[in-house]
Symmetry: C3
Subunit: 355 residues, 3 copies
């Protein structure tokens, strides 16, 4: 009889080696159903993801799947190997979307270990990985560096000397990827829901996205399962009782997608999330919390060779049970307002005005 348990418990800190490549299980064919569920879970209204006709008018074959949905599926695949034993999600960098994903595309994900540094208490350590999602033609759909703090199985285990990568602080506008074939000459502001184009935004401008959406436990569990994300803190209420929170935590990506959907009111023409510069899940979110969001425009960058679109760097804060007209963010002492749950710095693509 086989004596080794067949139950997979995931990797602990001492299981990772710098340079190690991991091909993650369960490739996933995304379909029109994922598009509809993305709307049903978050209320997203961006026309390019909602209407095949709108997408065709800007040069795409049909409505691409929501950029954040691609992120959710990619990161979900990495969880069983990378972060199922994580203490905390520490950061993201060099985070770029590649070719759009359409219904019928199959995503596969692999990761390479870039760095490792044991913590001084020797019970855990930080793991840096580069994870890459590709479609069935091997084209990159999402690529990012992520670092997480992971438990050691055995605190006494001896590990190698630290290797600490130095990811770029932000994605340069010239490195943003514009989908092939995209042409915004026929961009329809009315269908898109906003008269504001790239030129209308200025660094320092603040936008209150006004509405709030309440998150139920069944909602975030539904999304976590849909993304085949196995992080048990999200869907095991029994085990949740024994944690410091005493209950389930919402998947942080669910909050990101809610904030993105809310941002439609003020950023409706931000039709593509092209890159994430930095992101922090500032505080946990639970079933019953109502999420609000506001954004600050950080930078407006033209894109080389493109007169029809430009990049807008935006910082979106989400807060719970706190409408955002008072701009809850970082306080004078550098600490976050207690209602803040998300601080996300990212690049959007927007149509420019005709010259």
């Amino acid at each position: 009889m086989s004596t080794k348990s067949k139950t997979e418990g995931g990797n602990f800190f001492e299981d990772f080696k710098v340079g190690q490549e991991i091909r993650h299980a369960t490739p996933r064919t995304l379909t029109e159903a994922d598009a509809a569920l993305n709307v049903a879970l978050y209320g997203s209204r961006f026309a390019i993801n909602s209407s095949d006709e709108f997408a065709r008018a800007v040069g795409l074959p049909r409505a691409p799947l929501d950029d954040l949905l691609v992120f959710h599926v990619v990161i979900g695949k990495t969880v069983p190997d990378i972060s199922v034993n994580a203490v905390a999600n520490l950061g993201y960098a060099e985070f770029r979307w590649g070719v759009p994903v359409y219904p019928g595309d199959t995503l596969s994900v692999s990761s390479t270990v870039l760095g490792l540094r044991e913590n001084s208490n020797r019970t855990s350590g930080v793991v840096w990985v580069r994870s890459t999602g590709i479609n069935q033609r091997g084209e990159m759909v999402l690529d990012y560096i992520r670092w997480v703090m992971v438990h050691k199985r055995d605190p006494a285990a001896v590990v190698s000397a630290p290797v600490v990568p130095k990811p770029a602080a932000s994605v340069a506008p010239a490195d943003l990827i514009v989908p092939a074939g995209l042409s915004l000459a026929g961009y329809d502001d009315v269908a898109a829901g906003s008269p504001y184009r790239w030129e209308d935004y200025e660094a320092g401008e603040r936008i209150d996205h006004v509405s709030g959406i309440t998150l139920e436990d069944s909602d975030h569990m539904f999304s976590t399962r849909l993304y085949q994300n196995t992080a048990r803190v999200h869907f095991d209420a029994h085990a949740g009782k024994s944690t410091r929170f005493g209950r389930r935590l919402a998947y942080g990506g669910h909050v990101i997608s809610l904030a993105r959907a809310l941002s439609f009111n003020g950023l409706a023409n931000g039709f593509r999330v092209a890159a994430v510069n930095a992101g922090s899940h500032v505080a946990p979110t639970f079933g019953g919390d109502t999420i609000y969001a506001w954004s600050e425009v950080l930078e407006r960058a033209p894109l080389p060779g493109r007169a029809d679109l430009g990049a807008l760097r935006v910082r979106t804060y989400a807060a719970k049970d706190c409408p955002c007209g008072s701009w809850p963010g970082k306080e004078a002492d550098g600490k976050y307002h207690p209602a803040v749950v998300l601080d996300l710095d990212y690049w959007l693509l927007l149509p420019r005005r005709a010259a």
Copy 2:
């Protein structure tokens, strides 16, 4: 820097002008996923919407999407422009479905302001609009008049003299639209789930639909988001605490679809909702309520040139936490039984017996 806030707050009463045309944002391509979610949200069992084979046997290319789903999507698109600042939804008229909607069709919606009448207290007024949903070929899929009471932004704002339209009291049978190609010679009663055809119903007949379905907050929020309906009362529990109800209200259309799904038991051959004559959301519905329904047959009308189908005018009541064997409706004093939440007068199409 742009000084105008980019946040869209919707129109107030004084923003509307008679004759004004509004093209609503976010066209939506409906798919097989919307069909499945319609089943999952309401438990609908009408064979024509459930089975491509059944639909082909009656002359359609495949299973059309549920008629009420089309309504939900169309009205959802109008909310940000028409009713996001509404006090109350007052009525519907001249409400007809046109060509069937199939997976892959993209719906766009526009509205024309038909009438305006300020209320005597000058804080709000009634807005009449005709809203029309079309598919990607410009064919009408749904067309109706709706009137809502909308807040004024500024009570002191001076508005024009009232213009009050006089919608028809009901849709005439001759104006009902029968889908092109439909032919019921091969209609399969067993697959459809009922032996009762058009001839078997009589005016005055009452049908208790027996079963009840409990509505959770996550259910109605899921449907509201799916329809990209931005009416915050449905999904913002934080703001809901400060309302007179102290909580979220279920989207009234969710209750209509539940009542329609329940009506399968007794009206299984009512394969198409062709028109709504009048409808009233009599009382609000909340998460945790169980919806029951019963119907009264109002009229049986043959359709010109059609020996294979006829129209049945039905009035369906939905009640909460109250099984409907006691026929809760209007009481002797003209008031509704306290359990009633919906009173809907509409036309169904049913197969006739072969001559």
Copy 3:
């Protein structure tokens, strides 16, 4: 006026006749949406159902729909005729899946009454039926015997002498159906998520599936409605208050699918559920319960003429609010551990190692 009520109340014990054939209503075209919802409801991660590319690599045209989803849809169709007046679900036998079901297939279901035996108290009796689901080409997709205890409408009704079928105690390996065209030479263990093939399992081996998933009322109602299952105990909270449980019961099939999804951790290469030998819903499950599971390997059987795959007979127990490292099952006294809610004995197909 029609005097007979048009409301369908379902069959009672005295309505059934041995040999009676019943064609069930509401054929259903399954789509990619059902595949996605199966993932979203249960978190299933089996690669063959998740990835069209993976399925093509083993000789199938695309990813087949989850085997248990087929079961849910088939049994749901039988409820209004067979078990809507049931006291209890007693057992399953000779339960085999046939041709795989793909998006676009339309399922129809019929049943034949095999046996009837009135209970001694004359208020109810046991009904045995064989139910068969077929696709639009008439190919069998699922076939099983089920017996349920059904109320009599009238205890005084006189019924025929008992006819008691003797179903096989289990499905013989030689009777398991392997999908046509399936060829596992290119089976990708990494994509599938497990290095363990058929040869690695031994009778008597126990596998703790470790994770738990909490079930909300809105989750199981969503699945019940999706399967057009009309058993009111699952979705009528108002009526549920008057039952001995005082609330809604989760659909037992929901628990089976959760257990199957959890079993991925340890049985990831069990790519197809081929047959059920026996199954018991040991105790009811309610919203808020967290489901865990463990499995015991019962038997390893080669399949005639197949070097690339074999059959594994597995018994999976699901327990609520009880992690399964302590193997909750039948106790020494023959009674179940109080946490057990499901005991399922079934055949899986697994890839074999290359010779």
